[in-house]
Amino acid sequence: MKNIHLLGLKDYPEDDIQTIIDTGFRFKEVLDRPIKKVPSLQGKTIVNLFFENSTRTRISFELAQKRLSADTVNFSASTSSLKKGETFKDTVQNIEAMKIDAVVMRHPTPGSPLQLTKYIDAIVINAGDGTHEHPTQAILDMMSLHEKFGYLKGLKVGIVGDISHSRVALSNIYGLQTMGAEVTLCGPSTLIPSFAEDLGVNVNYDINEVIEWADALNVLRIQRERMDGGLLPSIREYRNLFGISEQRLSEHKKEIVIMHPGPMNRGVEIDSVVADSDQAIILDQVLNGVASRMAILYLLLGGKSDKESD
């Protein structure tokens, strides 16, 4: 593995992404056993440092860590009264003093995992840094697509929703493109970055055209805060224009795979019926999340050197 840390998928090598996905499938088998445990990370201590609330990502990481026999510690910092800057450095260095091997961090500010690598020696895994990247989500998304289709190169993936504020989107854009997939962004023009084309993706504001074109859609959660910022007039308008509703899908007679990183706003960006249908691989994403996080932890923490065995 070329990188010590996993901070993002920008410029992340294709080989390494493939290795993670392949290893992820190996770990998926482990999750099928009666005893879902391997001793690979025995004796390793991993801290889950979450400055933002996130039950599902944290649980996913925790399960992955425990299945690998690692010891896990959870730290949930509240970012309320204290100046975030102060809490960050102090917290981080206090934890390092306790001799840990890796930190899985979620923080609201872009670039904070990179900063973390400057303050501590442990391995850093970015579980989401604000509106920047969420590499483990993109990896589990790609693993799920690979599982469903058998390939990623040439696959057509549409990402729908608030792209500008989505770390899931950005990491998926980098990862999918590295693996040779084609990406189209769809959403309100206030929520798609003006320099999107520089990322090498297509942009289309017509959800119906995107559905026709795509093999799979990754549907992002729309946050109500966007209305407060004046970027979106109403939830109703969003649903009319971009909602993946049962009716909309039925108008297109095609097989299209539906993905969602969760949590879902059922009835807003996606209908319950769609989310629960056979086309949706949302629960597979969740399981692949644990398996791929096991793969990531194993590949980054397992063993001292990068020497292959005989």
């Binding site: 920008k10 100046k83 975030k84 800057g85 102060e86 960050f88 450095k89 923080h107 609201p108 500010t109 872009p110 670039g111 904070s112 990179l114 900063q115 840094d129 604000g130 509106t131 920047h132 990247e133 770390r167 950005l170 970055p193 003006s194 320099f195 999107a196 520089d198 990322l199």
Partner: protein, 430 residues
């Protein structure tokens, strides 16, 4: 750095003397007697004179930075007038103007008086700039007349823009009778929102909230038009965008009351340097694209830019160590200014020494109505001596400010200040 009192007679021997006021360059000596210029060029000084060998060095006027933040009163932990003076001396500066966004702000004749009195104890000349509006709230203009009487040279709410065009109109109209510049930090708050850097390709990759170039250029345009309308002096600080340059270029033709400054960091860096999320590159206005940088360099070469000013903005290590959103805007700049500007303009862009020197000496003095003829006999000796060819790396030991927030650390510089003479003292650096 070593500061010592000038001996009664001192000769700067065998240097290249650049006079940016008379626009002359010649090899020769300078004789300073009792801290004042005695003769320049071919001199006859007493044998007891102390001699400073200036072979292969350039001798010129001491630099003048019209835009620094010395944080006194209120944040003396970051910098005070004394430490700021040391930083200035290290950069070849003999004179600075301090911005009023202190705590409390310099918005009254009493506070101007405070700075003037305090500066008597400092090794360089310090001129206070007063704020345009009371408490820098952007509403009511200050007692400019009384403040000028106490020593204010210009007015600015720097750090904060005057968002209300009506207030800016008033400020310019009022300042007209005093013929001093109004300096407005041009960044439209409504367009800026929570922007932390320039809005472009790079900010998209970094996921950081950002503001486009028109955040600055729209307001610059407004200020330029108001200057023309009122006939008042406008000095545009820290220009960062090609668009602003374009507006300035066309309006300067119609109006000689408009002056413009740029910072060394807008000459040296582009937004692509922010991939490392270095908080020392978080500045306002932000560092923009390579295209904007090129436009600024071209504007300097074409004489559209009047001077270089550092916007020296000290912040503590703790403040800059926080996450990108929490770190305050700004970087120190006095110590790195010459090396950086010389590298970019002279080394990389074929500018000549005299042009760069003018941007740091005669031009800013002209803008604020100070004496420019510093080599005239009897004038207090304000001199910078530098090695134009020396290539060096900027490091912590080159910093004399209390704060260390500089993105120039580790960067290659060309041209280094050797000595600075002012107020009867000579400072030799390293």
């Amino acid at each position: 750095m070593n500061i010592s009192k000038l001996k009664k007679n001192i000769v700067l021997k065998n240097g290249t003397i650049l006079d940016p006021y008379n626009n002359t360059e010649k090899k020769g000596d300078i004789h300073i007697e009792n801290g004042k210029i005695k003769s320049v060029g071919k001199i006859s000084a007493p044998k007891t004179s102390e001699t400073i060998d200036c072979k292969n060095l350039i001798i010129t006027h001491g630099f003048f930075d019209i835009h620094v933040h010395f944080r006194e009163p209120g944040r003396e932990d970051k910098e005070d007038l004394n430490s700021g003076s040391l930083a200035a001396l290290a950069g070849g500066f003999t004179r600075v103007c301090t911005m009023p966004n202190t705590d409390p702000p310099i918005d009254s004749p009493e506070s101007i008086r405070y700075i003037v009195d305090r500066s008597e104890e400092c090794p360089i000349h310090i001129h206070p700039i007063g704020s345009i509006t009371k408490s820098q709230e952007g509403k009511e203009i200050t007692e400019m007349g009384a403040m000028i009487a106490e020593g204010a040279l210009a007015f600015s709410d720097d750090g904060l823009p005057i968002n209300d065009s009506g207030v800016m109109y008033n400020a310019l109209e009022y300042s007209y009778m005093f013929d001093v510049p109004i300096i407005n930090h041009a960044e439209d708050d409504c367009l800026k929102r929570d922007g932390l850097m320039h809005e472009g390709k790079v900010s998209t990759h970094l996921g950081l909230p950002a503001s486009p170039d028109i955040t600055e250029s729209n307001m610059v345009f407004r200020d330029l038009e108001l200057s023309i309308l009122t006939g008042a002096r406008l000095h545009v600080p820290h220009v960062s965008s090609a668009k602003s340059i374009s507006h300035i270029k066309s309006m300067k033709k119609k109006n000689d009351k408009i002056t413009v400054e740029v910072t060394p960091h807008h000459l040296f860096f582009s937004d692509e340097d922010l991939y490392t999320f270095d908080t020392n590159l978080k500045v306002a206005p932000p560092i923009r694209t390579k295209k904007d940088r090129k436009a600024i360099i071209d504007a300097i070469k074409n004489g559209i830019i009047d001077c270089i000013a550092t916007d020296h903005a000290p912040h503590t290590i703790e403040e800059k160590e926080g996450t990108f959103d929490m770190a305050p805007f700004g970087m120190i700049g006095l110590e790195s200014c010459f090396g950086a500007a010389s590298k970019v303009l002279i080394n990389d862009n074929a500018m000549d020494q005299m042009s760069l020197v003018k941007l740091l000496t005669a031009n800013p003095r002209k803008i604020l109505g100070l004496d420019q003829n510093l080599f005239k006999e009897g004038t207090e000796a304000e001199i910078a001596i530098y090695d134009p060819k020396l290539e060096w790396k900027f490091s912590l030991e080159n910093i004399y400010s209390k704060s260390k927030n500089s993105p120039f650390l580790g960067r290659e510089m060309k041209g280094k200040i050797k000595s600075t003479i002012v107020k009867g003292h000579i400072t030799s650096i390293d």
